[in-house]
């Protein structure tokens, strides 16, 4: 799947533009991570890609066709989404919840093939023992695994995940990221995920998209090229040392820079609201 974002902007209202002139080509398979501090529009960007938001300017092309021209059902067959938080007002069993991922492909009733796919993803994510538990009885980490399982059961060409491992312990963070990495490298799907763990992103991503205030793309490229001390200082306002481990950059954080220094660093930024 080829995603081509051209000069895209998004704002919730006139006073609060969120994304500015985003240009991005996502044409290769693999694991792509979006990183950046809070409030730079990472979630908004992915919601413009999967039609949850309508860009206020520019275009998002999926395989050469504007995302607005896709029917939701057709988009759901090729693009999956794992949101940052789960709704459990009227929850069903874990098995039923994951079966929902088959909705874009399935007929009225779940088929044996649907159940086979769900069985495989539950095994993969090590949540088989939860299959008949109710979703609202699970911990936040288990919720996240079930949501990922549902995204995988959808068997999309592109799986978009919004901070999929934020509630998981370190071991499960790595295991889930490795699973996504393997799926992306077996050619089963392209994985586009927002990550707050820079070291996990640096180690596993094939490509990193760095977003910075006030909703712009700072850099795009291989982790070895984009994860630099200068980038961390400018984008995150942190002093750090970047060392190499497993041939990938690894960040050792130092001190946070002052607010005054941060303002000075960003004073030439084109879209910054100078009154803010």
């Amino acid at each position: 799947m080829e995603i081509d974002i051209k000069d895209m902007g998004f704002q919730y209202n006139e006073e609060a533009p969120v994304l500015h002139h985003i240009d991005l080509d996502l044409n290769e398979k693999g694991l792509i991570c979006i990183i950046g501090p809070n409030g730079v529009g990472k979630s908004t960007l992915i919601k413009c890609i999967n039609k949850l938001h309508k860009p206020t300017s520019g275009t998002v092309l999926i395989d050469g066709k504007s995302v607005n021209d896709y029917k939701l059902k057709d988009l759901a067959k090729v693009m999956g989404y794992v949101p940052a938080s789960a709704n459990d007002t009227f929850s069903m069993t874990v098995l039923d919840t994951i079966l929902m991922g088959r909705h874009p492909h399935s007929k009225v009733k779940a088929t044996r093939e649907d159940l086979h796919i769900v069985y495989e993803v539950m095994k993969e994510l090590n949540i088989m023992h939860l299959a008949m538990r109710n979703f609202d009885e699970l911990s936040a980490g288990q919720h996240q695994k079930v949501a990922i399982a549902r995204g995988l059961a959808q068997e999309p060409e592109l799986l978009i995940l919004d901070e999929p491992t934020s509630n998981l312990d370190i071991r499960h963070q790595i295991k889930v990221t490795e699973l996504l990495y393997n799926l992306a490298h077996e050619g089963k799907m392209t994985v586009l995920m927002i990550s707050h763990d820079l070291n996990v992103a640096a180690r596993y991503a094939d490509k990193i998209i760095v977003m910075s205030t006030p909703g712009v793309i700072y850099d795009v490229g291989h982790p070895n090229d984009v994860i630099t001390e200068e980038m961390i200082r400018y984008v995150y306002g942190m002093n750090c040392e970047v060392v190499y481990s497993h041939d990938r950059p690894h960040i050792i954080l130092d001190t946070a820079i002052s607010d005054e220094e941060m303002i000075k660093l960003h004073k030439d930024e084109k879209y910054v609201d100078k009154d803010a």
Partner: protein
Amino acid sequence: MDTEISADISEDELVDTYGHYLLKKLGFIAICVIVTVIVAGVAMTIGPYDIGFFECYRILFDHLMGNIGDVNKDWVICEARFPRIAAGIIAGVGLACAGAVMQSTMKNPLADPYTTGISSGASFGATIAIVSGITLINGQFSLVLNAFIFSLIPTAVIVVVSAMKRASPTTIILAGIAVMYVFNAMTTVLMLMADPNDMADVYAWQVGSLGITSKDDIPIMFVVTVIGVAIMWALSGKINVLASGDENAKTLGIDADKLRIFCLIVVSLVAAAIVSFTGIIGFVGLVCPHVARMFIGSDNKYLIPASAALGALMLIVTDLIGKTIIAPAVLQVGVITAFIGGPMLIYLLLKQKKEAW
């Protein structure tokens, strides 16, 4: 059921476990239907003319087959007793399904046609038709159509309010209650202007009673409710996805807003068809889906039929209580459902996770 299963379970074992789990849900629905049939039979035996349980069903069956034996008994069952029970079953099925669907599509455990004011809107439409004789069309469906048109006003209000950001489930219900007050006030104004002969009818509408439904009303109630419930059930898979959140629904290929509005229109139609002939029977749509959820969970494929069965059961049981508790006087069914539903609403309000405002 035991919810823990082994991590090493084979695929076939998982499919079997899931199959048993679904079978238990069907079992629950079957039990509710059987109990409803038994209670309906018992209800048909009650009255001054002594007819046994099985004889009641035999008379009903013979009547349907066009094979009428004892004319008196046939009249007692088919003209006097059964229409009231049939109205209870249809109203219970329709209102409970409407409640289940509203709760799921609005992700709101407090929603039902009564708490959102839909029943009040429908009641006002029906009252206009009865008191003033003003209807949009002539004929059998005129009353229902009037009720339906006016039920769409509270529906539009809740759609607008729920689209607003930060509208909690409680806010939506409060908006519904506000609409309900406005419609009830307008209905009261109409009642003041009404012919004294119509007052009893309009009053019965306000309370909700199965005694005001005549035999001739049953086919219209039945047809509209069956079609509405069939549509809801056909959409149950999509409604499940919608209940998991609008973003989930959209990324799984469902236009959340369109589906919700369509479901609410169907709910309004069903509520209108029932309210037009029974008046405002409150809380059936609130209580029954919650009781069903306790036993079989929130999968609408099973929740809708289970709520339907429980709704039918609840209304004929409460009507039976109403007919016997202060006999020979009759307590309207709406009064009894309010006694059950009121405390249930308070319980659900207290259980709400989010702050009300």
